[in-house]
């Protein structure tokens, strides 16, 4: 077979059907498939699921990805140096954190031998000098994007015009399904664009002529552009990547649309971009500058940065109190500074910030002086409650445990991914489009439906729903059509205006009115038919996997709550980002219902017994849903609870209700505009609960809740390792009992699924925080919906990806601390090693420094950190370097001061002044 040299593209002729054209097209498509790693597919708003926008960079280590992201996107993956230095001044990053980071980053810094620049001076070590460098040296240059398109090189106005034209056409195609009409509906993008753009009066005649001359294959248009600019090999690859990186948000949405087969892909996108650029730019290849400089390389271990510049040495000398004209000292300081390039400092700062989060959240080592509650196995608990690993659950779990304790009840809480091992496509009674209710990592295994025993009632309900939907659809169509909005405003403007005024002034009253109006179509009692949709062997297999993964293989209570979660918000394009990520951005109630149906099924239980898990006959699994905006917890199918357990469920509901104020109080203390923020912590419960309810109903509220802001760690351990600790809603808590995991497969599943989802979420919050302009969705009040699948900020610009600023910050300050995921696993080290050895996925994240992993076998063991040269002990988890015990649940009338102190201690608990509310 003759290998085709794909670097010789322009030597081939472009004409369709000529020999070689098929090969050329394939090469172009292959090169674009390789280039598309510069952006990550981005899901539409309706199914928003957090993901690292730079997931394609995870093939490299974090340090190298930082350098590449700087060159290709002009962006950071960390905070800038001033932000790190502010955190040091604020005490978030301590000297201990910095020295620990230096130990990992600069081999020479581990040398504790003191060096004295001159007799009589304080002796200094290598680390002392490098710490002074971190504090005081002139700032390293800001990242600069060097991966540019020809138009960006030669004429930024043309580049902006290309962006604008491409955005118009592509969003018209991507949003055509949501628009009242579209000239591109039911047609693939490339032929539709060629047909319509050739008549576009907004572009010069020569551009229209050029578009008319294009053939049916978009690859040929790309090849023509490469030939025009005489780009070969790596330069051609850079050209393609530059065009994708020019509008990364749009490229991410197109990549997602391609994966869903919606008639557009990245080849089309680049073809259109490159064609406009070629036709609009009156320039040739001779005017292009030489190719960009090679990407700067950063390594995990510092390789040294050559000679340090005099200003840097001056700054460090001054910081250390050394005389600037001391030649010997300058020489030594200069030699030490040459160990670290200025642009590497942010990597050390990032490591220090990560270390700071790790020591605040590490479960302490048992036997230390730090107090944390331990639970002795003994009597049968009153109930077990399984919550999603979502960090928001942690606060409620703490409150529930404390409230139950107050009542003399033992409630054991557990953590598990909120889809409860039921990967399904959910068909609700309302007739909404079926949706994948499972992590994006998974394909739904079965279709599960919501079934009503009362068929007549269900039919009546659906008919009423249809009638109401039809009325709403008429108004929606009138609003979206070309002329009708004027007539609509004339005829319905006044009543709609009055309704809007009421909705704004009295959101809760409006919500109650709407609820009463909808009461006429009360839903009939339904159940999820997962026990029928999944075959018996599947039910047993998934049930066993779930129970072994969470370590619940014995000691079952009479009542086991499965708590999914969702977020009630209105007028919020990012609503799905607040729902359950493990359920594909949907509410978690249906998955909890499906799991309960499977686990209550006698056949499933018989199968489980055959596999060594005996669920007592009197144990009932009950699905509930936690609303993370209001912290209300509602039973999903009260009609499915057997009469024998109604009392237990009522008692559990009472505990959940009573736990709510403490959970709400803690959350509202950090939310802008909350009573707790303005009136310190002493606001009465009723005011706090009313404020939480308002946030769920208020269409002008841009801070309904904080979502997963602050997330920093995943702890895979029995609850006894974390019970009694205040983890400030910053940890994904996955229960795990090594003894219940007979062959280690449960741990492997945890480390290859929940860990990956947690890392995606963590990376999304990190990037949206460190560079909100590039990777965030911008301020909510400025968001303009594009076809219900994306937003733009204001009138135009790239489609925004990531999270809105109101998910990660207030005013100009981030609330989320952008740290890489810190993973703690309590399991046999050999078992963890075996998983790492088998899983290239986990190994890649670890070796690349995208996550940090610490392992211990028992609570009494020290945490050991994974590293490329083995496991090391850093002292994390020892006294002073671990999570703090939680205070008793605060009450407005009993302990306002202690609660305020407690919330001020954690970085995520930053009280926000009222005036910062936008």
């Amino acid at each position: 077979m003759t290998a085709t040299n794909h670097l010789n593209l322009p030597n081939d002729t472009v004409a369709t059907g000529e020999p070689g054209s098929e090969t050329r097209r394939a090469v172009i498509r292959g090169m674009i498939a390789a280039a598309d790693r510069v952006v990550a597919p981005h899901r539409p708003l309706t199914a928003f699921v957090a993901r690292n926008p730079l997931a394609g960079y995870e093939r490299w280590g974090f340090d190298e990805a930082v350098a590449r992201a700087a060159a290709e996107h002009g962006t950071r993956l960390t905070l800038d140096e001033p932000a790190f230095r502010r955190r040091h001044l604020a005490g978030i990053i301590t000297d201990h954190d910095l020295r620990a980071a230096l130990d990992r980053h600069v081999t020479e810094a581990r040398d504790r031998a003191r060096w004295s620049p001159r007799p009589g001076w304080h002796s200094l070590s290598v680390a002392d000098i490098l710490v002074a460098d971190l504090y005081a040296s002139p700032l390293a240059p800001a990242p600069e994007r060097t991966l540019l398109t020809p138009a960006e090189h030669l004429d930024p106005r043309v580049a902006a015009r290309v962006d604008d034209l491409v955005l118009r056409w592509t969003t018209a195609h991507l949003g055509s399904a949501h628009a009242a009409w579209s000239p591109m509906r039911d047609e693939a993008f490339w032929p539709a664009w060629r047909r319509l753009a050739a008549r576009d009066p907004l572009v010069p005649r020569r551009v229209r002529r050029g578009i008319r001359a294009l053939g049916p294959h978009p690859e040929d248009a790309v090849a023509e552009a490469l030939a025009h600019w005489r780009l070969l090999g790596d330069d051609a690859g850079r050209f393609l990547r530059a065009h994708l990186a020019a509008l990364p948000g749009l490229a991410g949405h197109v990549a997602n649309a391609a994966s869903e087969g919606r008639g557009i892909d990245l080849v089309d996108l680049i073809a259109v971009r490159a064609t406009y650029e070629r036709l609009l730019l009156p320039a040739g290849p001779d005017q292009l500058p030489d190719g960009p400089a090679p990407l700067p390389r950063a390594s995990v271990r510092s390789t040294g940065g050559g000679r340090a510049d005099p200003q840097r040495i001056d700054a460090v000398m001054e910081r250390l109190g050394l005389a600037g004209d001391d030649g010997d000292a300058r020489a030594v300081v200069g030699r030490v500074l040459s160990l670290v390039r200025p642009e590497e400092r942010i990597l050390i700062w990032q490591e220090a910030l990560d270390h700071s989060a790790a020591r605040r959240l590490a479960p302490p080592r048992a036997g230390g002086t730090e107090a944390h509650a331990t639970v002795e196995p003994g009597e049968r608990p009153f109930a077990q409650a399984v919550f999603c690993i979502d960090p928001r659950s942690e606060g409620l779990r703490r409150a529930v445990e404390q409230e139950a304790g107050r009542r003399g009840l033992e409630v054991d809480t557990l953590g598990f991914a909120g889809f409860f091992a039921v990967a399904m496509r959910w068909h609700d009674l309302d007739g909404d489009p079926p949706a994948a209710a499972c992590p994006v990592l998974l394909e739904p295994r079965r279709d599960v439906g919501e079934r009503a025993a009362d068929a007549v009632g269900a039919t009546r309900y659906r008919e009423r729903l249809r009638a109401r939907s039809a009325a709403a659809a008429v108004v929606a169509r009138a609003k979206q059509s070309l002329v009708a909005p004027y007539a609509l405003a004339e005829t319905a403007g006044w009543p709609m205006g009055a309704a809007a005024a009421v909705r704004t002034a009295r959101p809760l009253a409006w919500a109650r009115f709407v609820e009463a109006w909808q009461g006429g179509a009360a839903r009939p009692a339904t159940r999820a038919d997962a026990d029928a949709a999944f075959a018996l062997d599947e039910r047993v297999a998934y049930a066993e996997a779930a129970l072994r993964m969470m370590g619940l293989v014995g000691g079952f209570a009479r009542l086991v709550l499965l708590a999914g979660h969702g977020a009630d918000t209105v007028n919020n394009p990012f609503a799905s980002a607040l729902h359950c990520g493990a359920c594909g951005g949907l509410r978690g109630g249906p998955n909890a219902r499906a799991a309960a149906a499977m686990l209550n099924d006698p056949g499933t239980r018989a199968g489980l017994a055959g596999r060594g898990i005996r669920v007592p006959e009197d144990t009932v699994f009950v699905a509930v849903e936690h609303d993370t905006v209001t912290d209300r917890v509602a039973v999903c199918e009260p009609w499915s609870v057997p009469a024998s357990h109604l009392g237990d469920v009522a008692q559990a509901e009472a505990v959940l209700r009573a736990a709510r104020p403490a959970a709400v109080r803690e959350r509202l203390a950090t939310l802008p505009g909350a009573p707790a923020a303005s009136a310190a912590i002493a606001a009465p419960d009723a005011a706090l609960l009313a404020d939480a309810d308002r946030r769920a109903a208020d269409w002008s509220e841009s801070y309904p809740e904080w979502g997963l802001a602050g997330n920093a760690a995943l702890i895979v351990a029995p609850r006894r390792a974390t019970r009694g600790l205040d983890l400030a809603r910053r940890t994904f808590l996955h229960s795990y009992e090594a003894e219940a995991d007979l062959d280690g497969s449960a741990l492997e599943t945890i480390l290859t699924a929940p860990l990956i989802v947690a890392q995606w979420i963590n990376a999304q919050y990190l990037t949206s925080t460190v560079d909100p302009d590039r990777w965030g969705a911008g301020p909510k009040p400025l968001a303009n919906l594009v076809g219900a699948f994306a937003v733009q900020t204001g009138y135009g610009g790239d489609l925004r990806t990531g999270l809105p600023w109101q998910s990660v910050g207030v005013g100009r300050d981030p609330v989320h601390e952008p740290v890489r995921l810190q993973v703690f696993v309590q399991a046999p080290v050999a078992r963890v090693c075996a998983v790492i050895g088998r899983s290239g996925l986990v190994r890649g994240l670890l070796d690349g420094g995208w996550i940090a992993l610490r392992v211990r076998e028992q609570e009494a063991d020290p945490w050991l950190r994974y590293g490329e040269f083995g496991w090391t002990r850093e002292g994390i988890g020892e006294p002073g370097l671990s999570a703090a015990p939680s205070a008793p649940a605060p009450r407005a009338d009993t302990a306002p001061d202690s609660a305020a102190e407690r919330t001020a201690g954690a970085p995520h608990h930053r009280p926000v002044p009222v005036e910062e509310r936008p």
């Binding site: 794909h6 994966s259 699924a753 996925l841």
Partner: protein, 107 residues
């Protein structure tokens, strides 16, 4: 191939990350491949060490074995298109001669 009545074709097999299957299958279709077989969750040991097989709750990050058979005159185009994909990422490709009994399925 010395089996009477069969038609010579070229078989192309790839082991690639599952996340890249969509792009690669689009490439296959673009050069006229009429079909392919995908085996998800394959395991083995390669340049980057060991790779586990199917994961219980993660289809996205597994490796997939893609197999397609094309007329030999189309193989060069497909191989040329696949090379940049593999050069920029992880994965391996095997190209071999094969024979099929119903050639019209592959044209």
């Amino acid at each position: 191939m010395n089996i009477e009545g069969l038609t010579s074709m070229t078989k192309i097999e790839l082991v690639i990350p599952s996340a890249e299957v969509d792009a690669v299958t689009a490439l296959m279709r673009s050069v006229g491949a009429t079909g392919y077989t995908a085996l998800g969750g394959v395991s083995g040991v390669g340049h980057h060490g060991a790779h586990g097989g199917r994961m219980l709750f993660n289809d996205h990050d597994a490796l997939t074995l893609l197999i397609t058979v094309v007329p030999s005159e189309r193989a060069a185009a497909l191989v040329a298109g696949l090379r940049p994909v593999l050069e920029g990422g992880s994965g391996v490709m095997f190209v071999s001669s094969t024979a099929v009994s119903r050639p019209e399925y592959f044209r």
